[in-house]
C-alpha cells in the first residue's frame, strides 16, 4: 500500500510540478517516471528500515566523546552506510562522477523520506553540499581528491562558518590563514595555508563514520600589515581535511591539527554531532609547524561568495527538514486521533454520557488541529518542491525561463527556509496537543519532533536574517524585478483560478493580499531608511510567506479540480480542504502583520533600553 507521504509526493512531483517533462531535457534523457519512482521506492525502504526505527535511539544515546573518539550508536553507522550505498550522495551528479543525473526535484523528494523518518541520524546533505561547493569552485584535482571521495561515500564533509563570537555576523570571524612556508602556493592540492582559530556549531565536526572528514573552512588571510581585513571581503575558503591526503586521495597517515574542543548538548536534533572545533591549537602538531593545514578554494577574499553559492539549496534543505518533521507529527497525530477514544461530540442530541466514547477525530477541534497541520506541512512541502523545480529550471532550462527561475528562487528562498521553520513547528505543537498528556511524554514521538524542529528557525540563517534578506535585498534588488516576477507568477495562478467557480473567491482574496504585500513593501521603503524599513522585517516575512503559501495552495487546488474526478477522491478532497483552511483561517492573518510594516511602526525600535 502506498504511504501517505509517497502519495503526496507523487501528486506534487508529477501531477503538479510535472517532473516527467524534465525527461525531455538532455541531462535527464535517460530518466522516466519509472526511474524516478524506483529512486523513491529505494529511499522510502531504506528510511523505513534504517532510519525510522532508530529515531528515538539517537535522541537518547547522544554523541559521547571519550577523549579520543566521538562515539555514536551503531544505528547511525548503519544508516550512514545504507545511505551511501544507495548512491544518494551523488544522485544529482554527472554520470562521469558516478552520479545518477537526477533532477534536484526528484533528489529532494527522495531525501524527504529520510528527513521524515529521522532528521538527525544523518547529515549527508552537508557532505553533498560541501562536495558541490568544491565541484563549483575547486581545482580539478581538488574535485577529484576531495569532492569525488565525498560523493562516493568514503569521506564526509562539514561547513565551518560560525565562530563562538561570530554567529549571524560572519564578517567578524577571526580564524587566520597564513601561507605555509616557502612555495606554499605551489601545492598541487591548492595554495597551502596554516589556519588558527575556533569554529562553533559545526555539525558532524568529528566522528568515526568515515575514514576522513573534509572541513570547508572560512578564514581570513591577513594583509601585509598582519591585520585581518574587516568585513566579509577578507574571507577566504579552505579545505582542511581531518587526516592529510596525497594527490591520489590516499591518507598519508598524518593527523591534521583540527581538534574537537567540545560537543554541544542540544535541545533536539541529537543524532547529529555538533561541535566546537579548534584549528591549529597544537593538539595534533603537523609537519613541524603551527597551524592546521588548509588548501585555498577559489580566489582569496571570495570565500563567502563560494559558500553562498550553495546557500539556496542549503536553505531549501532546512525548509524541507522543518516540513518533514511537521509531516511526521501530522501522521503520528492523525493515527492517534483515528484510534484514541475520548469523550463525546457536542451538538445534535447533546452529550449522552451513556453513549460510548468516540474517537478523537470525531471532535471538531481535533479536526481543526489536524487540518491546520496538513495545510501547513503539505503546503510547505509543495513550496519546497516548487523551489527544487526552480533549481532544475535554473540549471537546465532555456534562456529567459532559466533566468526567471533563478530570480524567482532568490525571492522565494527566505520563505522556503523560514516559513516551514515557523509553521511546521507550530504543527508539531498541535500534534502534541492532539495527544494530550501522552503527547507530553517521551513514550510518543511527537515531543521529539517539536524539539528537533525548533532548530530550524536558528541554523542556516536565523529568522531575523531571512527577513532582512527578503525585505532588505530580495524584493528590492534589480529595481524590484524579483517581486514583480513573483507577482506575475502568482497572477497567472489567479487568472486560471478565476475560471473555476469554486476557486474564484480565493483568487480574488489572493489578488487583494498580493496587492497588500506590494503596498506594504513600498510603504516600508517610502523613506528610504533601512532602519525604518527593516524594523518590522519579520512580520513582513510572515505575511509574505502566508501569501506565497496561499498561492501554492490555490495552484494545487486548480490542478486538483482539473483532474479526473474518479482519481483518488479522498486525497484530493483533503487537498481542497487544506486549501480552504488556508484561505479561511490563515491568509486573513496578514492584515495584522502588514499593518506595522506599512506604518513603519517604531514601537519596538524606539523603546529605550532601560525600559525593558
Amino acid at each position: 500500500m502506498t504511504s501517505p507521504l509517497r502519495s503526496t509526493l507523487d501528486f506534487l512531483v508529477h501531477d503538479w510540478l510535472q517532473a516527467d517533462s524534465l525527461t525531455a531535457r538532455e541531462r535527464f534523457a535517460d530518466h522516466s517516471r519509472e526511474t524516478f519512482g524506483a529512486v523513491l521506492d529505494t529511499c522510502e525502504r531504506i528510511a523505513r528500515e534504517k532510519y525510522a526505527p532508530f529515531n528515538r535511539t539517537v535522541d537518547t544515546q547522544e554523541p559521547q566523546f571519550d577523549g579520543e573518539k566521538v562515539i555514536l550508536p551503531q544505528c547511525t553507522h548503519d544508516a550512514r552506510l545504507a545511505y551511501a550505498e544507495s548512491g544518494m550522495l551523488s544522485a544529482a551528479q554527472d554520470y562521469a562522477l558516478g552520479g545518477m543525473q537526477l533532477p534536484y526535484l526528484v533528489e529532494s523528494a527522495a531525501n524527504s523520506f529520510f528527513a521524515c523518518a529521522s532528521i538527525s541520524i544523518g547529515s549527508n546533505l552537508l557532505t553533498t553540499g560541501n562536495a558541490n561547493a568544491i565541484l563549483v569552485h575547486g581545482t580539478p584535482l581538488q574535485q577529484q581528491v576531495f569532492a569525488a571521495n565525498e560523493f562516493n561515500g568514503r569521506w564526509a564533509g562539514t561547513m565551518c562558518l560560525s565562530e563562538p563570537q561570530a554567529g549571524s555576523s560572519l564578517s567578524d570571524i577571526a580564524t587566520r590563514a597564513t601561507g605555509d612556508g616557502e612555495g606554499f602556493e605551489a601545492d598541487p592540492l591548492g595554495p597551502r595555508y596554516r589556519l588558527r582559530g575556533n569554529k562553533m556549531w559545526i555539525s558532524s565536526g568529528d566522528h568515526e563514520l568515515t575514514e576522513n572528514i573534509v572541513h570547508l573552512v572560512l578564514a581570513k588571510i591577513p594583509g601585509p600589515d598582519g591585520k585581518l581585513v574587516p568585513g566579509v571581503k577578507g574571507i577566504s575558503l579552505f579545505i582542511c581535511p581531518k587526516h592529510l591526503v596525497d594527490t591520489e586521495g590516499r591518507l598519508t597517515g598524518e593527523r591534521n591539527d583540527v581538534a574537537l574542543a567540545g560537543l554541544n548538548h542540544k535541545l533536539g536534533w541529537r543524532g547529529t554531532t555538533n561541535t566546537l572545533l579548534n584549528f591549529g591549537e597544537g593538539r595534533h602538531p603537523v609537519r613541524g609547524s603551527a597551524g592546521a593545514i588548509g588548501y585555498l578554494v577559489g580566489q582569496p577574499g571570495e570565500g563567502l561568495k563560494c559558500m553562498f553559492h550553495m546557500m539556496n539549496e542549503a536553505r531549501i534543505s532546512i525548509g524541507m527538514a522543518a516540513t518533514m518533521l511537521g509531516l511526521a507529527g501530522y501522521y503520528a497525530s492523525l493515527d492517534y486521533a483515528k484510534t484514541r477514544l475520548q469523550g463525546r461530540p457536542v451538538g445534535s442530541g447533546g452529550k449522552d454520557a451513556s453513549a460510548p466514547q468516540v474517537r478523537l477525530i470525531e471532535h471538531a477541534d481535533v479536526k481543526r488541529m489536524l487540518l491546520a497541520q496538513k495545510s501547513y506541512c503539505e503546503g510547505a512541502l509543495a513550496l519546497n518542491l516548487y523551489c527544487a523545480r526552480l533549481v532544475d529550471e535554473g540549471r537546465t532550462g532555456q534562456g529567459q525561463a532559466a533566468a526567471d527561475a533563478r530570480l524567482l528562487l532568490e525571492v522565494l528562498t527566505p520563505i522556503a527556509k523560514s516559513w516551514p521553520s515557523e509553521f511546521c513547528l507550530e504543527a508539531n505543537s498541535l500534534a502534541i496537543q492532539i495527544h494530550g498528556g501522552y503527547g507530553y511524554t517521551r513514550d510518543f514521538p511527537v515531543e521529539q519532533y517539536w524539539r528537533d524542529n525548533r532548530l530550524n528557525m536558528i541554523h542556516e540563517g536565523t529568522h531575523g536574517i531571512q527577513a532582512a534578506d527578503l525585505l532588505g535585498r530580495k524584493v528590492v534588488m534589480q529595481g524590484g524585478a524579483g517581486l514583480q516576477l513573483l507577482a506575475r507568477t502568482v497572477g497567472a495562478t489567479i487568472a486560471q483560478a478565476r475560471q473555476t467557480p469554486e476557486l474564484a473567491p480565493y483568487a480574488q482574496q489572493l489578488e487583494q493580499a498580493l496587492q497588500e504585500v506590494g503596498a506594504a513593501t513600498q510603504a516600508a521603503w517610502a523613506t528610504g531608511n533601512p532602519g525604518e524599513a527593516l524594523a518590522n522585517a519579520v512580520p513582513y516575512m510572515q505575511a509574505f510567506g502566508h501569501v506565497v503559501l496561499a498561492w501554492v495552495w490555490l495552484d494545487v487546488a486548480h490542478v486538483v479540480l482539473s483532474q479526473d474526478a474518479s482519481l483518488s477522491i479522498a486525497a484530493n478532497a483533503g487537498r481542497m480542504g487544506a486549501c480552504r483552511y488556508f484561505f479561511h483561517y490563515e491568509l486573513p492573518r496578514i492584515g495584522a502583520w502588514l499593518q506595522v510594516v506599512r506604518q513603519r511602526d517604531a514601537t519596538c525600535a524606539a523603546l529605550a533600553e532601560d525600559a525593558f
Copy 2:
C-alpha cells in the same frame, strides 16, 4: 537592589490592584503593605536560595523508582522543607488553622517567585488545593486530620482525577468505590469505602518528601445493580491516604493499597514526579480485604462538584505557572541581549564592518522579540493577579461587589489559564531565538523553560476544554450576564482612557474589538446548534483572550499615566511600550480569529475523515 520581578509585582499588586485597600477588611486587618512586603521578601529569598540554583538539576536528575521508593534529588527535599517552613502552605488560611490570613492576591504574588525560579521542583500548590477542598467539603474531623496536616507541612496532597482511558472526559472514569463491610458508614474519618482502579497523570503521586500522602480520588459508587452510573453524576470524592492514620492523625503503621504502577517520562516539568497509580490492585493488601481504603468527602455523586470548587484557583495557578516560565525566559534573554555582541545595526550610515560589534539589544528585531515577551508575560501576570484579586473580592467583598467578582472570575478563568499557556510559551520560543544557537543548547536555561511550559496547554483542562467552557458555557450562562459584566468592566476602562489623549486611540480600538467579540458570540450561537457554535471555539478563545489582555494593558497604562512622572520613569516607559506593542502588533490579530467564528466556518468539522 529590587529585582525586576519584585518591581513589577509591587506595581501590579499595589499601584494597580491596590492591595492595601484589602487591609480595611476584617479578615486582613492585621496586614499592611509592610507585612505583605515581608512575605514577598521571604519568598523571593527562599526561591533564590533553594529553588533557582537547582532548576537544571531537577531537569537532569529525573525521579527514579527503585522498586520500593521514588528517589528525588536532595535539592527537592530541601526546597520542600524550606517552603513548608515558610508557612506558605497555609498562607491564606485562618489564624486558627495556623495560617496568615493573607489575601489570595498576595499569596499568588508571593508564590510567583517559586514558579519563576523552578516551576517543577515543588508541587505545593497541589497540597494546598487538596487541603482547601477538604476544608470546604470535608467533615470537621477530616479537616483536622487531613487538611491541617497538609497545611502544616507534615503531609502532601494529590488530585487523582484522570484515568488512562479518561483524560479530558472525566465522566468516563471507571474507578469503583464500594462500602467497606458492615458499618462502613460509621467510620469517624468518614464513610469508609474500598477503591479499585487506575489513576493516570497524578503529580507527586508517590515520593518520600513527607511521611504521608493524602490522595483525593474521584471514583464511582455502583448502583444497586452493581453498575456504574454513566456521566459525571455518578462521581464521588474520596480521601485515600498512602499510609492509614487514626483520628489523631497518627500513622497506624498500615500501608494503604495505593501502588505506584509507573513514572511518566516527560518532555519537561521533570522535577515533579508524575505517576500512574493503582488503587486496590492488591500490591499492599490492607486489613484483610481487597481494595484501597478511602473515606467519602461530601455527598455521594457530588465528587466533581467538590473538585470544581477548587478549579478556578487551580486554573489561575496554571496560568501563573505559564506566566512565570515566560517571564523567566524574558529575563534570561534580556540579560543575554544586553551583553552578547553580534553584528551591527542596519540603518543610518550603513554597515561599517570595521566598527565594533554591537550588543543584541541594539538590533530592532531583537527589541521586537523582547517587547513581545514583555507584553505577553507582564500582561499575563497582570491578568492572573487581577483574577486573584477577584477571588479575594468574591470571598471578602460586600453583596453585589462580591457576586460580580465571582461572576467575572467565572468568565475570565478560561482566559487566565489558556492565554498564558499559549502566549507565554511563544515568549519562551522568542527567548530561545534571541539566544541563537546557544539558546538551543542545554547550557542556557531557555530551552528548559520552553519544554516546561508546553505542559500548560494540556493539564488542568486542555486548550480545547477551556475554549468549550468559555464559548459553550461562560459567555452564555445566565443569559450572557457574565459577558455583559465583562463588557461593562472593560467599558469603564475605555471611558477612563478616552480622557487621556495618549490612550484615546487605544480606547477606541478596544471598544471596536469588544463589539466584534460580542457580535461573534451572537453569530456563533445564531443557529443555536452547539456543534456549529463550538467548531471554532479555540479561535474564539484566542480572540477573546487578546481583547482581555488589551483591556488589562490599557488599564495598566491608565494607572501609569496617572502616577507622578518622577516615579520609576524607566519601568513606566516599559509598561507604556508594552501597551503600545499590544495594541499595534497583537490586538489586530483578532480579525482573522473571529471571522471563522462569525461565519460558523465548517471547513474543518465538515471534512471527511478519509480526506485527512
